[in-house]
């Protein structure tokens, strides 16, 4: 809020526009929608000013940088509403270039005209202008030519038209609008074709919508469909709302790329909108015709209780994981996630689980759940074989149905910050810190 006041004063001072003339309610609404769209996530460089752009994004053809969308002349300063609308919903920049589809304009095509006006009001009058020139992409010629993108856009971007209801339930309808539109959940959670377009853009568009992605920066964006094994079948609507609002639910905690989505976007949504999102997601059917609820199997828990850790990976689990996630795999409510029946661990591709075992993660603080919990990384402590053993153990215990993984799967995911070490550097007794 403080930023907003400063921004307003700055604008008044420059004489550009009289903020007082702009509808404050509209700006507030636009701010809320910008949160829903999580614009800040991509349009803010690391350590940079909000919305000033410069965040690098790796693509298969080279690195591109997000743009400045503050109301400075280096940003959207001279954009009319139509210019803004062309970029956001149609994927065409003011200079006529087609935007790289890292900008999810195929999803934003769903946004209503009214919401676009609110967003425009916010970006013009609610955001502090930052003078920062956009950075050219590192994509070499001829791949840097933008004209092929135009063809891509014609082929894959949907027509912009005001969103039309497809459900009778206004709550589900609202959820669909948010998920398929500004929320652009499919950008990560829907598989992409070879030509990089999302295979489907809405629930009505096919069963691949939100069916989970291939690894992206070392994480899987899991299926949000009704499957119990690796979708949201086992989650209640209330758990989903809690998860999006606080980053945690009774049996789960956010990690990987979704942490930023909760921190920057979802926690700001109203309970009504979160319920709408949850109810809509829960309306997506399972893709697996043989989908079954998780059946807890107590065999492993009993063996560990009796001191038997002879099963593959069990000893690694006992020495590294059981303290928080328990020998029975149930974890501790709202604090340490359950592993038994947890769909995120049973995806066909085990990348996420391997990654978090190696690197750990921190559950972010949110307004209504201020505590952070950090899972330490175990890359330094465990060999590829040990990680493979314990990941296979987790994916196959307590009734879980994930396939085992190999040491090779682990080796491929280790980056420079995830090497095994002697640990000698950890043993420096320095007394007082």
């Amino acid at each position: 809020m403080k930023n907003f006041v400063i921004a307003t004063l700055a604008l008044l001072g420059s004489g550009a526009l009289h903020a007082a003339e702009v509808d404050q309610t509209l700006i507030k609404q636009g701010e809320y929608l910008a949160r829903a769209g999580d614009c800040v996530a991509c349009h803010t460089g690391k350590g940079g000013k909000p919305f000033a752009g410069g965040l690098p994004m790796e693509t298969p053809i080279g690195t591109i940088y997000s743009t400045n969308i503050t109301p400075d002349k280096t940003g959207l300063g001279d954009y009319s509403f139509d210019d803004f609308d062309q970029a956001v919903r149609h994927g065409v920049a003011k200079n006529g270039d087609t935007l790289y589809p890292a900008m999810p304009y195929p999803s934003y095509a769903r946004v209503s005209e009214a919401d676009m006006k609110a967003l425009y009001a916010y970006f013009m009058h609610g955001v502090e202008p930052v003078a920062q020139d956009n950075k050219a992409s590192d994509i070499p010629w001829p791949l840097s030519m933008r004209w092929p993108l135009m063809g891509w856009r014609w082929l894959f971007a949907p027509k912009v038209e005001d969103y039309k209801a497809t459900s009778d339930d206004p709550v589900i309808e609202r959820g669909a609008y948010l998920v398929e539109g500004l929320g652009h959940c499919g950008a990560c959670h829907t598989p992409r074709a070879l030509t990089m377009q999302e295979k489907s853009l809405s629930a009505a568009d096919g069963s691949e919508f939100l069916a989970g992605s291939a690894p992206l920066e070392g994480w899987i964006a899991k299926s949000l469909r009704g499957d119990h094994k690796d979708g949201l079948g086992s989650w209640s609507e209330e758990q989903l709302v809690q998860f999006l609002k606080t980053g945690r639910s009774d049996r789960s905690a956010v990690f990987g790329g979704m942490s930023d989505v909760v921190t920057h976007s979802m926690q700001y949504m109203s309970d009504g909108d979160l319920t709408a999102i949850a109810r809509y997601l829960k309306s997506l059917p399972a893709n697996d015709p043989n989908d079954q609820p998780h059946q807890y199997d107590e065999k492993v828990a009993k063996a560990l209780w009796n001191g038997d850790d002879s099963h593959r990976g069990a000893s690694v689990y006992i020495d590294n994981c059981a303290a928080c996630h328990r020998t029975d795999g149930h974890g501790y409510t709202r604090v340490f996630p359950a592993l038994a029946g947890n769909p995120v661990l049973q995806t066909d591709d085990a990348t996420s689980l391997i990654h978090i075992v190696l690197k750990g993660g921190t559950l972010p603080a949110t307004h209504t759940a201020p505590s952070t919990f950090t899972m330490p990384g175990f890359a330094w402590r465990l060999s590829d074989q040990e990680v493979a053993d314990v990941v296979s153990f987790i994916r196959g215990s307590w009734g879980n149905k994930g396939a085992p993984v190999s040491a090779k799967d682990v080796a491929g995911l280790r980056t420079d910050d995830m090497k095994t070490t002697s640990g000698d550097d950890l043993g420096q007794v320095t007394g007082h810190n």
Partner: protein, 248 residues
């Protein structure tokens, strides 16, 4: 192992040689005694260096001199001997641990309030009142003890037989010898304290190799999760684990 075995002259010879050829130091992994007893057969004196057994990590002291190193090795072996109960301080790498500690702020007295004036003769219930820090105490205490031992029969502490070494340590513990530079009791207490630290610390500090100390008493190490075992009057079943993740 009987007392006779422990006083095996070959072993005594080797122990003395250690000061000159630290590559065959006992302060290695749990292979200690058997390796050394086998050594004469496989490697006659003055022959090519012993092939280091797998996993044996020859530690080179960085603080202690060769003479001091001989003392440390001989003394800790008396304080926590290799016996029927299992490996002792040498097998646990206690000398390496103590040497490594000498390079920490602790050994320089940096963790203590060390401003004067000092009253080294204060009553014991007044706590530590000496100006000496661990580095000084080892340096002065070892020299004084060796000099005292030599005065008895011309041999340094490390050159004495096991029974004599035990006796000398008991006298140090009781504060019998009057050393000018450092009270014998202070020296002994520090040595004993550090020896137990090296026997029972996490292996990350250089001691407790193979977690022999923890295994002897049944301490599970760095697992630190007993939710399933709190109420159970049973022996805890899992072996010790170190911070690095090695299992005993």
């Amino acid at each position: 192992m009987s007392d006779q075995d422990r006083d095996n002259p070959r072993r005594e010879f080797l122990r003395k040689s250690l000061t000159l050829i630290p590559v065959v130091t006992l302060a290695s992994t749990g292979l200690g005694s058997s390796v050394l007893q086998a050594a004469p057969e496989t490697a006659p004196a003055a022959a090519a260096p012993l092939p280091a057994p797998a996993g044996v990590n020859a530690y080179q002291p960085s603080f202690f001199t060769a003479e001091e190193w001989a003392f440390i090795n001989a003394a800790v072996a008396q304080l926590i001997p290799n016996d029927a109960q299992g490996p002792g301080a040498l097998e646990a790498g206690v000398p390496e641990y103590i040497d490594r500690q000498m390079n920490t702020p602790y050994a320089a007295g940096a963790l203590w309030y060390m401003q004067g004036p000092f009253n080294a003769d204060a009553a014991p219930e007044m706590g530590w009142q000496s100006k000496l820090v661990p580095k000084d105490i080892y340096r002065l205490g070892i020299a004084a003890t060796d000099q005292w031992a030599k005065a008895l029969n011309g041999k340094t502490f490390a050159e004495q037989d096991s029974a004599t070494r035990d006796d000398l340590l008991k006298q140090l513990e009781a504060g019998k010898p009057q050393f000018d530079a450092v009270p014998a009791k202070i020296f002994f207490n520090l040595l004993l304290q550090n020896t137990k630290e090296g026997f029972f610390c996490d292996p990350i500090h250089g001691g407790n190799k193979g977690m022999v100390g923890w295994t002897m008493i049944g301490f599970p190490g760095a697992r630190a999760d007993f939710m399933d075992w709190v109420e159970r009057n049973e022996q805890y079943p899992f072996p010790a684990v170190s911070i690095r993740g090695e299992r005993a």
